[in-house]
Subunit: 157 residues, 3 copies
């Protein structure tokens, strides 16, 4: 039994299918002991559940949920490549938040991704879901997505 | 004979000289099995061929060509540091697209970089030119460049 | 005696305490031979010394000083995790500059971070403070910070 899948099951989280890349690239790449994911949009079954910017059409609470979906899509990409039980540590998360002028709560949005990682990995990894992170407010994102999240994880040798 | 230079020659691509950094940094750094490039502007012989934002002064097709030049400049930086034949896999591409409000086709722009990598490396590397990628729309770029691309590659030990 | 602390002392630089993360993440993570820092704001004793955008409320010279503080905060995060004497090379710096329309001197701002790295590490590391770098102009940053800087360093095995 996979420890991570067991945890996901306890949490009632179904790992989505890997989102189709928006261009000529792949969802994730293994390089040495690292897996790098592509920037993940909050796609659900191939559809973006919301469009627009924080500080305009999208509320922080809604975007927090979208960032969680981005992280889940990143985990799906990692799982398809190496299996989530190969993950030894979460290394880095970068969160891009489409931000209208005056919106400065990017960290509150990207906490949606970070909290998912804690739920999934705390107690399973030596460092739990802990990771370094940057969160920035960008002008526009692909398909008018409010959020995009990319991730680097360390895997077993 | 270098396999990559042979391929470039067949493609009619001349590797440019390494672009002069816009600040106090270097074009690329080797660290363990990785080479990280600096963010590359689409400089041609030290001159930016276009300035402005997508969704305003710059068309997607033109920016697609500029992203290709950025990727070529990144390859030049890698070549000068370790030689392109040392490259084992392309790991990650990040594309920053200067975006006016309402422009959301960043992936179509950054495909210019990704497609160049496929042309150069498909058939030469086990994973071809495949890479993870993020593409985001930023407010402004250095020198009013429409595009900036950075890259991580894996090299021989 | 720590070589880096000795250098800092000669430069009259006091390493700050590690800035409290703005969300559910950690200041830095070790992964293999790398340390990744989180995006660092120019916090001084937990307070942001300036807010606003380049090209509007904030001058380039002031932001150059803020980028230096960001880099110092990144070094503090690395020091707390592995000790600065473990650093073998600076690999990558990414600088995010909150930019009003028409501001394109992001490299001049992020030079504040790069120059600090040269001051601290030149003569101490084989490659000095040299690093790859990307500098981009984003729409908004957390807490209306003018600058955010993240860093990757290589450490002893």
């Amino acid at each position: 039994m996979s420890a991570v899948r067991d945890r996901l099951s306890v949490l009632g989280i179904v790992l989505p299918s890997v989102a189709v890349p928006a261009g000529v690239y792949v969802p994730a790449v293994r390089a040495g002991q690292f897996v790098y994911t592509s920037g993940q949009l909050p796609m659900v079954d191939g559809v973006l559940p919301a469009r627009g910017k924080l500080g305009a059409e999208i509320e922080t609470a809604a975007a927090h949920g979208l960032a969680r979906i981005c992280a889940l899509n990143a985990l799906a990409a990692i799982d398809a490549l190496v299996g989530l039980d190969a993950v030894v540590a979460i290394v880095k998360v970068v969160g891009f938040v489409a931000s209208a002028p005056g919106f400065n709560a990017q960290p509150a949005v990207i906490n949606g991704a970070s909290e998912l990682l804690a739920e999934v990995f705390d107690g399973l990894l030596a460092t739990g879901g802990a990771h370094a992170r940057s969160a920035v407010g960008v002008a526009e994102l692909p398909a008018n997505s409010p959020v995009e999240v990319e991730m680097i994880v360390l895997i077993k040798e």
